[in-house]
């Protein structure tokens, strides 16, 4: 089982390398942008599964605050997008609501919602990428897993950020349903951790800025930022996302991500 996973992980890494080499007719900047993104993805492969708690602090221009709490379980699926199960805890009125997603890098994701009041499982459209997640400044697409195929790239240069040398890479979403024309991403040259993302809306004006802080390393390999702050530059609202209780390789299986597990998710 484990050797198989390691093997699959190696194959995925190899595939990523092939993607990089086979993409002909790219400019030097495009090639470098792609290579950096592939390297970042490669460094984050092989975590198998993870569990974590997420808290969101929503703040509007007047300073009013509201809290969201969710629990997340994810399963790494090699050569496809990851599977995830999200359970809502706060606000209280949505407690017990759960969301199951099978993401795919190119074709649309499969998503189901469990509504506890009616005990109803509802298949929902995954087209809604640009919409806000639980009224926050995070769109659904901002919370989905990073897949190389989701963007095309352009390397913009190096820049100092948080006392580290960063690659600055521009990403253009492939999906026409994305709410963005482009994102500019800062990744440090040492560990390929994302430190900042600027999001540009459909009219190509700066919409939001996301900053990552309090990075921790898990299993001596995987870096996760405990804190992510999204500031909407156009309306002054912000959302602070705090992660806790991260655990990897906890032994989650395919069977933890089906209709039955969705119905009893806690």
């Amino acid at each position: 089982m484990f050797t198989q996973k390691i093997l699959m992980s190696a194959i995925t890494a190899l595939c990523l390398t092939l993607v990089s080499n086979s993409s002909a007719a790219l400019t030097i900047e495009e090639q470098k942008g792609l290579d950096i993104s592939i390297e970042a993805k490669k460094r984050d492969l092989g975590w198998q599964d993870s569990m974590s708690d997420m808290q969101m602090l929503l703040r509007n221009k007047q300073g009013q605050e509201s809290i969201r709490e969710v629990k997340m379980k994810s399963l790494e699926v090699l050569n496809d997008g990851d599977k995830s199960l999200t359970t809502f805890n706060k606000p209280r009125d949505v407690k017990g609501t759960a969301f199951l997603s099978f993401s795919h890098p190119v074709v649309s994701d499969d998503q189901w919602l469990f509504l506890p009041a009616l005990k109803r499982v509802k298949r929902i459209s995954s087209r809604n990428k640009s919409g806000p997640f639980m009224g926050s400044e995070f769109a659904f697409e901002d919370l989905s897993s990073f897949e190389v195929e989701k963007y095309t790239y352009k390397y913009l240069g190096e820049e100092e950020l948080n006392g580290l040398t960063n690659f600055k890479v521009e990403q253009y979403p492939v999906d026409e349903n994305s709410g963005y024309t482009r994102r500019i991403v800062w990744l440090d040259t040492k560990e390929y951790r994302v430190h900042k993302i600027d999001f540009y809306d459909r009219k190509d004006s700066l919409l939001k800025t996301l900053t990552f802080s309090d990075y921790k390393q898990y299993l001596a390999k995987y870096w996760r930022a405990d804190k992510q702050e999204m500031v909407n530059q156009q309306n002054g609202k912000s959302t602070v996302l705090t992660w806790s209780n991260y655990a990897f390789k906890t032994g989650l299986k395919e069977s933890d991500f089906n209709r039955n597990s969705l119905k009893r998710a806690r």
Binding site: L58, N60, Q64, S66, I67, E69, N89, K90, P91, R92, D93, V94, K95, G96, S108, D110, L118, K119, R120, V121, K122, R123, I124, S125, S126, R127, N128, S130, G131, P132, M134, G135, N177, G179, K253, S255, N258, R259, N260, S261, R264, R266
Partner: protein, 426 residues
Amino acid sequence: MTVLLEIAVKTKFKGSVTAIAVCASMLLAQPLFAQEVASDIEFETTGNIALEQRYFSDEGLYPQQLSHSQSSLSIEAELYWQWNEGSDSVIFTPFYRIDSQDEERTHGDIRELAYVHASDDWELRLGIRKEFWGVTEFQHLVDVINQTDGVEDFDGEDKLGQQMVNLSLVNDWGIVDVFLLPGFRERTYAGEDGRLRGPLVVDDNMVSYESSAGQQHLDFALRWAHSIGDFDFGSYWFHGTNREAYLSPSLQTTTSDLTQYSLQQHYAQMDQLGVDVQATLGDWLWKFESIYRTTSIEDFVATQAGFEYSFIGVFDSNLDLGLLMEHSWDSRGEVELGEQGSLMQNDLFLGARLAFNDMQSSELLMGIGSDLDHNAFSFILEANRRFGDNFIASVDVRLLQSNDENDLLKSLNKDDHLQLSLAWYF
């Protein structure tokens, strides 16, 4: 307040849960020591208390009915225990409503009291539970396991808890659920003082069953559900007591000299085949439900089919707009008032759902139903919004209109109402 509370050794719940846990472990032939079980039991409690106020624009059509205003208070709590990292759990959901006018609406129910054991590819669920089937919005045709708590609301979405043994098997080719359903629940109906009822009150003391086992008939259901790409399929066979009663007028002897009629309930045995399909294609959701029901009295086919289309971020904002259209059809066609049949024999429904995606999760839902065989309309509007962190306020408007003497809606002609509610979630 954290939601999940580690049960300390001193909590009063420990004893009973441990007992259940031990029984369950014995049942599943997995010897566990009580101490071990108790040590990692997690307990949480949630629920809501809601205040509801209805205003009817007109006086009731029938003399005993309440005149304009009806208030009520409801509470639903959910107590939940889990152990073995969630593989075993017990849920208890009691519900109670007090109504100021309709004594039939003052009622309680155990919505859930069940033990669930989840394994990798199977799940066993024992006790009182709620099970929903279906994909459409304006009518839940294939949903058959639970009895409707008809006195709760007009839309029939509230259900009474159903006793069951349910084994769920997960296969590569879909999930198969087997249900054994002992103990039938009678539907709840508005009382004499209540609104939203026909001219005759349904008598809950005059109930008959086709089966000699009566309420104790053991019902059975087998369902298969699977997702293949963009399609979600469900199909089932149900054998047992019809959840819909055949209602017939009968003479009621009263203490006074006056003779009065009320409706007697007769629950027949039925066999029902059901199918539900949803295709999720980009912004389109295509939905189809159909049943074939056979009883000693009649055989019929009914369908509910339609679509939902979503516009994401309309008017350059965060608003999502969903447009819905569904059609209901029933092979029994138009029926005389008092005859058996469906109100939704050839009806068209249009709806619009607006989600504001704001901090308060504001939502607006509108729907119009129209009977294509004769002149009858219904209109619903539902709006809700969160206040603070724990309150939800809702406004519902329901308008019902019919010119056809044969239509049940005609007897609800004076029941247009506005409903306000405020719920506190804990």
